[in-house]
């Protein structure tokens, strides 16, 4: 049995999973703390980003992929960032009545 576990590498993904669960619990607990809205959003999104990075790297095996995969990921996320920032160049500067 032990050999099987070793041969299919149960340990590493399980550790990642445990970390992910811990992070989930952390973020739920953190949401109970009374902070300003922007801080709360930043904390929640920061934890979510860490979780996403873990899933991308270990579950989706990005760490074993050639460089071009990582470059593509970078292009995609950079484009997303640009879209969000530029849209808010409108909404953040709208005059309020």
């Amino acid at each position: 049995m032990k050999d099987i576990f070793k041969s299919i590498n149960v340990l590493n993904p399980s550790i990642v999973f445990i970390v992910l669960v811990l992070l989930t619990i952390t973020t739920v607990l953190l949401s109970g703390i009374d902070v300003s809205d922007s801080t709360a959003v930043i904390i929640a999104l920061a934890v979510a980003s860490i979780k996403a990075a873990l899933v991308l790297t270990y579950f989706m095996h990005l760490n074993h992929e050639p460089l071009v995969f990582k470059v593509f990921l970078g292009v995609a996320f950079f484009t997303l960032l640009v879209i969000f920032l530029l849209t808010f160049s409108d909404y953040s500067f709208r005059e309020m009545s």
Binding site: I4, S7, I8, N9, V10, P13, S14, V16, F17, L20, V21, T24, I25, T27, V28, S31, D37, A40, V41, A44, L45, V47, A48, K51, A52, V55, L56, Y58, F59, M60, E65, P66, V68, F69, F72, L73, A76, T79, L80, I83, F84, T87, F88, Y91, S92
Partner: protein
Amino acid sequence: MTEQTATVEIPHHHDETGTRLGFWLFLYTELFLFAAFFLIYAVYRSNYLVEFRTAAESLNTGIGTQNTIILLASSLTMVLSLNALKAGKARMAKTFLQFTITLGLAFLVIKGFEWGAKFDHHLFLQTTKGIAAGEGSLLLNPSAEMLPVGQVLFFGLYFIMTGTHALHIVIGLIWMIIVYVWISKGSINPDNYGTLERCGLYWHLVDLIWIFLFPLYYLVA
């Protein structure tokens, strides 16, 4: 236009890395599809901060957390299934795949109960009150029974975003069942595991999107 004289079988072109690269690109299109939703969410949240926070309080954090962990666990079993197949243990791969499918179904069932509860409280349908179908609603004065517009937006987005996510779960489940059958038949095997790998990538992406949906709807109340 032409007369055919010969038929040629194309030699099977195998480029697993290339196929995976293409699949990753496909995943980015899915990501951008959701990005449009997230952008709308971000804009309206900044416009209607108070209403969004009030509305978010009516969502059950416990259920959300439970579902998050279920989905994370299903991702884990997916990874293990692929690892097992790569190690030549097709039966074990199938077992892990069964776990994944079960967890995915569990997610949907819980989600279904949550939606049902929202329907019962008319959080969805209340937005329609007074807006007869087929009529332009633009001039309508929001009636006293309606939620504040910010909350209406919140629930509209909540249902559409989680709905789209659930649709992706359903697609993932169907795919996994097909993969399961193919493993049984042996057309997906330790030497040819690309399809399971891509199915896994898709599943992880669905998980990834939920990782962001969860805090935005359940936590920042």
